[in-house]
Symmetry: C2
Subunit: 151 residues, 2 copies
DNA sequence: TATAAGCTTAGAGTTAACTCTAAGGTCAAC
DNA sequence: GTTGACCTTAGAGTTAACTCTAAGCTTATA
């Protein structure tokens, strides 16, 4: 039987977060002391670790709530339900990934185009690209910046 | 001179968002009608488009505030200031990307390991992997699932 | 027994970027 | 001259997942 601070140490989640998860129905302390202190069983600990693992995998607390419902009554739930949740999350992650990759590429091109030096920004190709709606390709940006540098 | 709804159409930002940006010091309407209606000049429009482009590139509104300060007085700012902002954002994006890629891989492995079928989830390898803290590799997960399938 | 550390609760605050509402003034058209 | 579309403001609500605070018990240690 662990007290909340002990569970906190064991899981790396703060006591605040554990109480937050409890308030939101994800976890529970099986027992309480007479004074009301939470006491966690091994089973409670495993549930918390499940939540933490799912969290690290990217699932939202709402997703995790569903996964936990399945976990406690696997006979009443199918693999398909589990994959539905997983695939939905994968799709979200993939979409976000695509968006971020596009941003990364744009930012890299911007950085490559700019001299990054201490002179004033009147010739800055990053500013120009943002002004132009990022229509410049790498070469055009580079050309523009060089004009500034060499003038 | 455009009214706010016209600027909205032109930029794809809602009138609400445009007022929000104004409240936060990013943009402004150069003129107002006697009744207080906002009127935007071409210069205002270009500034809004700059904001939108920077936003699409991933910059926060705070970043954009700094970029705008540079934009209106390029002589007092250096390319280095611009690249500092850009590199910081690139680093953030790259970090997030790494995190999401790890999630994506985990989710893909989970999906590959699970049959996704209509039978009950007592044998589900996704649930097992989450229970085990995702220590299972692809083969182990697959083996586990197959045991369930073939019994 | 007194001090400190740890526990309890309800509830407020944080973050970013919107998003929306209410209450009312303005303007063009019919 | 009255709809109806559009504009104004201040300010509240949204989202997710915490994060923290206050006020007050409890427990362990010296
Ligand atoms: Zn330069
Ligand atoms: Zn530059
Ligand atoms: Zn299965
Ligand atoms: Zn399965």
């Amino acid at each position: 039987m662990l007290k909340i601070s002990e569970l906190s140490k064991k899981t790396g989640l703060t006591a605040h977060t554990l109480r937050y998860y409890e308030k939101h129905g994800l976890i529970n302390a099986s027992n309480r002391s007479e004074a009301g202190y939470r006491f966690y069983t091994d089973s409670d600990v495993r549930r918390v670790q499940f939540v933490k693992t799912a969290r690290n995998t990217g699932f939202s607390l709402e997703d995790i709530g569903q996964l936990l419902s399945i976990r406690v009554d696997k006979l009443s739930h199918s693999c398909q339900e589990v994959t539905d949740i997983t695939r939905k999350k994968l799709d979200e992650v993939s979409a976000k990934l695509t968006e971020l990759q596009s941003m990364q590429q744009t930012l890299q091109l911007l950085l490559e185009s700019c001299c990054g030096g201490p002179e004033n920004a009147t010739h800055c190709s990053i500013m120009e690209a943002l002004d132009a709606g990022l229509l410049l390709d790498r070469e055009a940006a580079s050309r523009t910046e060089q004009q500034g540098e060499t003038k």
